[in-house]
């Protein structure tokens, strides 16, 4: 049998780890899958290569997959997300000047207290005619939505009180260093690099804003999924095996060394290993601080594409793009996530398979057992920092209750 070949597009980020490790450590070969990588520097290029067949699948920011399927800013192209590449793993990093102004210490900030201090700083800068400016990696990124969720939740109105601009991940630390922005919300290793260069101070992990926030996904064109369903399922099994390996503490140094290579992240292995092991160097020269579940790649069926995650991202798209809520769009968005493919791919593998395809997001204070059709599924605390919960059945009601 000849191997099924997948060309996968990615950006140099630690959460591109699963396809890279699946290839490098033989998990893909074991499933009869061969992976070739196409590395880019902007999400626009990753998206275009996927839409026009330069790639078969892509490491992608989840909201961009939904925006593409909805035809935001361009004609719609149906995309499918059969696998979530991870939860969280991003951080909000302030310039050292802003960090000093809001009194950040040498640990991570508290979302509420830091928010209050930032509100004052933002008001002062706005009054001085130089509003604070934050960089996010893309208009349709979880980074944009997480940052805005936090700011709005602490009484800072994005676009009115502070500016939010776009800085692609590999240039985020540079933008901070050049003073083009006062803060960035980006994935690793770019926060760590900003700190190690002495230009940034990590304020928050996005996991403090939403404990189980959906992050990168594997995106595939829907017509490709239909045509190559068996091959896609083999790829998912390879990614699942890579995820199990990735979270083993003993594998961290090797994973970091592989990801650090010029063909992949081309970044210092030390910064990458800190992200993988949930240790965050918050201030230049400081000792790394342990923050459990900073990145979340495997446990609790983390790779399962919950339709309610897609629905939450759609709710934020409505919130910040000033478009009307549409039940039809909400359904299209939710259907981008394909739990059905995840289930058939991993049936018989022993992996926990949730019985439901959608859940209340942000409703758990403590771990709880959840219904599964295979394996034992435990879901951990998944609160948003403001303790609001998202019911995918009532998006309009949820939006009406947000600040």
């Amino acid at each position: 049998m000849s191997a099924e070949r997948f060309r996968i597009g990615f950006l140099p980020l630690v959460d591109a780890a699963l396809p890279i490790l699946a290839h490098e450590l033989g998990f893909a070969a074991r499933e009869g899958v061969e992976i070739e990588f196409i590395r880019d520097m902007t999400w626009a290029t990753v998206r275009d290569r996927l839409l026009y067949g330069h790639t078969d699948a892509a490491h992608m920011i989840a909201p961009l997959a939904i925006a593409t399927a909805l035809g935001r800013d361009r004609p719609a192209v149906p995309l499918a997300v059969p696998f979530v590449l991870g939860l969280n793993g991003n951080a909000v990093t302030f310039s050292t000047a802003l960090a000093a102004e809001v009194g950040l210490g040498d640990g991570l900030g508290d979302p509420e207290a830091l928010g209050a201090a930032l509100r004052e700083a933002a008001a002062a800068r706005k009054a001085a005619g130089r509003p604070l400016r934050f960089g996010v990696v893309h208009r349709y990124s979880s980074h944009n939505y997480m940052l805005r969720y936090w700011l709005a939740g602490v009484g800072i109105r994005p676009d009115d009180d502070v500016e939010i601009a776009v800085t692609s991940p590999p240039f985020a630390a540079d933008a901070l260093a050049a003073g083009e922005v006062d803060g960035i919300c980006v994935g690793e290793p770019w926060n760590a690099i900003a700190v190690d260069r002495g230009v940034g101070h990590i304020a928050l992990a996005t996991a403090q804003i939403w404990r189980r926030g959906v992050e990168k996904v594997l995106a595939v064109r829907s017509d490709v999924i239909e045509a190559r369903r068996d091959a896609v399922e083999a790829l998912l099994r390879a990614l699942h095996a890579a995820a199990a390996h990735f979270v083993e503490p003993a594998s961290a140094a090797e994973s970091a060394a592989i990801l650090a290579r010029p063909a992949y992240l081309d970044a210092p292995p030390d910064a990458i290993e800190r992200a993988i092991t949930d240790r965050i160097r918050v201030v230049p020269g400081g000792a790394p601080v342990a923050y459990p579940d900073f990145m979340f790649q495997y446990r609790e069926a983390a790779n399962f594409p919950w339709r309610s995650q897609a629905a939450w991202l759609y709710s934020q798209m409505v919130r910040w793009d000033n478009v009307a809520f549409s039940p039809a769009d909400a359904a299209t968005a939710a259907e981008v996530f394909r739990p059905d493919i995840y289930r058939t791919a991993l049936a018989g593998s022993g992996a926990p398979l949730p019985g439901a395809s959608s859940k209340l997001e942000g409703g758990l204070d403590a771990p709880i057992g959840a219904g599964s059709t295979q394996g034992r599924l435990l879901l951990g605390a998944d609160r948003f920092f403001d303790r609001r919960a998202f019911d995918p059945e009532d998006i309009a009601g949820y939006l009406a209750g947000l600040p």
Binding site: T42, A44, Y52, D73, R74, H138, R139, T167, S168, D321
Partner: protein, 193 residues
């Protein structure tokens, strides 16, 4: 029709603008890749933007276009989708086009087609240049290998070349590869006698 060209390669930008000018499209703005891209595009107010696919400013530019639409500003641009096949060809060639809302297909197509041809011509030129460079480097290696053989075996140049050529034929490899091996081993073992 005003066309803005954003390219990390200034040579390629020049090749494209020459082509457009020859076709009678002479309202061209070359955006300085070192300067602030968005501010330059905003000031230029183009109807078509041509940008190389791998340009690091694309996410920034798309965000600007989306914001322009949200705020009903004048430069509301979309990814060109007037002809799916042409757009695919453009992506294959490495160029991405954005057009203002309402610009007719008939006006966009010649611009994009021309940009694609120029991008391809540039890639071809670059390939030829690379090949020429390689050929030059190979010739240098072969000359060095010949000199090594002449000195160590005490033979003349035609004999040295015949030796290289014979070995290449017997082992089904290129003469340059044999020469490379000789130069490498001479560098490592040349002083061992």
């Amino acid at each position: 029709m005003r066309i803005a060209i954003i390219d990390t390669s200034t040579t390629r930008a020049a090749i494209i603008s020459d082509g457009l000018r020859e076709a009678g499209l002479d309202d061209l703005i070359l955006i300085d890749p070192e300067g602030p891209i968005v501010a330059q595009v905003e000031a230029a107010r183009p109807e078509v933007v041509l940008i190389n696919l791998e340009n690091p400013s694309r996410d920034l530019l798309e965000d600007f276009f989306a914001m322009s639409r949200a705020l009903a500003r004048p430069i509301a641009m979309f990814v060109d989708q007037s002809d799916a096949e042409a757009t695919g060809a453009a992506i294959d060639a490495g160029v991405s086009a954005y057009v203002v809302d309402g610009l007719s297909k008939q006006r966009i197509k010649p611009v994009v087609d021309l940009a694609v041809r120029r991008f391809q011509a540039f890639s071809r030129l670059q390939r030829e240049l690379d090949e020429a460079k390689n050929a030059l480097a190979e010739r240098g290696t072969i000359d060095r290998a010949k000199a090594i053989l002449m000195k160590r075996r005490g033979i003349d140049e035609p004999a040295a070349y015949a030796l290289l050529r014979g070995q290449a034929m017997r082992t089904n490899r290129r003469i340059a590869e044999i020469a490379e091996a000789i130069v490498t081993s001479d560098a490592l073992l040349g002083d061992m006698e």
